[in-house]
C-alpha cells in the first residue's frame, strides 16, 4: 500500500513535471483523474475521426473529377489513420480499443457533434476541409504540447496531416468560386450551413465548461474554449473575404479596441440537442458504425482463429509443409 505521504510526494512530483513543461510518459505515476480525463478526451477525439469518415466518405463515389476522388479517398483514409494513432495513445493509458469501440457503439462515449450534420453537396467537402478541419487545427495545435507524451506525439503527426486537409478544402472552394454561378451558390450554401456548427466545435462557453480549469492545471488543455473560438474567427474572416463568401453572422465585425472580431453567439440549444443525440445524423452515424462492426465480426474471428491455429502449427499451410517434408 502506498502511504499517504508517499502519495503526496507522487502528486507533487507529477505536478512539478507538468509545471516544468515536461511530458508525462505511460509508466509514470499519474493521478487517477488525469488518466480518466485523458482516456475520455483522447477516445472522444479518436471516435470523432472514425465517425468523421462518414460525412465525407459520402462523396467518394460521386467526386466530380478523378483528382478530387483521389484526394478525398486519401483524406478519409487519413482520418482512419488518425483514429488509429489516437486509439494507440489510449492503449498506453491502459484503455483497450475494443472497450472504447463498444462504448462508442452503445452511445456511452461521444464524438464531435459536427459530424451529426449531413453533407448535402460536393461543396460540403471543401467547407469541411476549410472550416471543420480549420477549427480542429485550432483546437489541436496546442495539443501538440499537451502534457501527456503519447497524446502530444500523436497530435504532432495529426496536425501535419490536417494541414493538408485544410488546404485541399480551401483549394477546392477557390476552384469552385472561380467556376459557374451554380458552384458559387453551392459554396455559399455550404458555408451557411457549416459556419455555426464549426464555432460549436470549441465546446460550450467557458462559464459553462466545468472541466476546463482542472485540465488547464494538468496542461492537458492549454487554452479555454472561448480563447480558441476567438482565434478561429480571427483567422477565418480574412480567408472568407479572399474566397468571396459571406459568413452568416450579422454581428460579425472588427473590434479595433479589442484587436479581435466580435461575433454572435451560436445557438447553444441546438448544440445541446445535437449533443444529446437529436441531431440530423446522430442515429445514422452510430448505426453505420454498428453495422460495419457487426458485419465484420466473422472476419475478425476468422483471422483470430487462424492466428491461433498457426501459433500451434495446426493451420493447413503448416500441415501441408509437414506432409511434404518442407520447412515449417
Amino acid at each position: 500500500m502506498t502511504g499517504e505521504r508517499e502519495a503526496d510526494t507522487l502528486e507533487r512530483d507529477f505536478q512539478h513535471t507538468v509545471d516544468a513543461d515536461q511530458r508525462i510518459e505511460p509508466r509514470d505515476w499519474m493521478p487517477d483523474g488525469y488518466r480518466r480525463t485523458l482516456v475520455r478526451q483522447i477516445a472522444q477525439h479518436a471516435h470523432s475521426e472514425i465517425i468523421g469518415m462518414q460525412p465525407e466518405g459520402n462523396w467518394i463515389t460521386r467526386a466530380p473529377s478523378l483528382r478530387r476522388k483521389a484526394i478525398l479517398l486519401a483524406k478519409v483514409q487519413d482520418e482512419a489513420g488518425h483514429g488509429l494513432y489516437l486509439y494507440a495513445a489510449t492503449e498506453t493509458l491502459g484503455a483497450a480499443r475494443e472497450d472504447l469501440t463498444q462504448k462508442l457503439l452503445v452511445g456511452k462515449q461521444k464524438y464531435s457533434s459536427i459530424f451529426n450534420y449531413p453533407t448535402l453537396t460536393f461543396a460540403d467537402v471543401g467547407v469541411i476541409g476549410w472550416l471543420v478541419d480549420g477549427a480542429a487545427i485550432c483546437n489541436q495545435v496546442p495539443l501538440c504540447r499537451t502534457s501527456y507524451g503519447p497524446y502530444a506525439r500523436a497530435m504532432i503527426r495529426i496536425c501535419k496531416e490536417e494541414s493538408f486537409h485544410q488546404r485541399q478544402g480551401y483549394e477546392l472552394l477557390m476552384t469552385m468560386m472561380g467556376g459557374t454561378d451554380e458552384q458559387r451558390a453551392m459554396v455559399q450554401d455550404a458555408v451557411n450551413r457549416w459556419w455555426w456548427p464549426s464555432l460549436m466545435m470549441f465546446g460550450p462557453p467557458d462559464d459553462a465548461s466545468p472541466n476546463t480549469e482542472q485540465s488547464m492545471r494538468w496542461r492537458i488543455k492549454r487554452h479555454t474554449n472561448d480563447e480558441l473560438r476567438q482565434k478561429f474567427v480571427d483567422m477565418t474572416v480574412p480567408q472568407a473575404e479572399k474566397l468571396g463568401v459571406t459568413l452568416p453572422d450579422p454581428e460579425l465585425r472588427w473590434n479595433a479596441e479589442r484587436g479581435h472580431y466580435d461575433f454572435g453567439a451560436p445557438d447553444w440549444d441546438e448544440f445541446w440537442q445535437v449533443v444529446k443525440g437529436n441531431g440530423p445524423c446522430n442515429a445514422q452515424r452510430v448505426a453505420h458504425r454498428n453495422r460495419a462492426h457487426e458485419e465484420g465480426a466473422w472476419v475478425r474471428e476468422a483471422a483470430a482463429a487462424y492466428a491461433e491455429k498457426r501459433a500451434r502449427g495446426l493451420d493447413r499451410l503448416a500441415q501441408q509443409q509437414l506432409a511434404t517434408g518442407g520447412v515449417a
Binding site: 510518459e25 505511460p26 509508466r27 509514470d28 483528382r67 483521389a70 484526394i71 486519401a74 483514409q77 487519413d78 489513420g81 488509429l84 494513432y85 494507440a88 495513445a89 492503449e91 498506453t92 483497450a96 480499443r97 475494443e98 507524451g149 503519447p150 502530444a152 506525439r153 500523436a154 504532432i156 503527426r157 501535419k160 496531416e161 494541414s163 493538408f164 485544410q166 488546404r167 485541399q168 480551401y170 483549394e171 477557390m174 483567422m235 480574412p238 480567408q239 479572399k242 465480426a297 475478425r300 474471428e301 483471422a303 483470430a304 482463429a305 487462424y306 492466428a307 491461433e308 498457426r310 501459433a311
Partner: protein, 96 residues
Amino acid sequence: MSVKSSWPLWEVFVRGKRGLNHVHVGSLHAPDAEMALRNARDLYTRRNEGVSIWVVPADAITASSPDEKDPFFAPSGDKVYRHPTFYAIPEDVPHL
C-alpha cells in the same frame, strides 16, 4: 468457441531511411505478425515508404524505467496530394 474477435496489440518500429535506427512510432491491432507488418506499412508509412518495419507483440516488451523519449513518428510522401504544398493557395491568404 473461445476465439475473441478483437485482435492483439502490436508495437511498431520503423526505420525511416538507411543510417537511422528503428524508431517506435505507435501501435496497432492485428491478428498475427504477418498482418501486423502489413497493417503497419499501410498505417505508419502512408506518405513515404520506410526502409524497414518491426512489429513486436505489445505484451512481449519489458520496460525499465519510465524515462523514455520515443518521439511519435511523423509521416512521410508517396501521393503528392497528401502534402499541403500540393495545393496552390495565393500567398496573401492568411493562416493557411
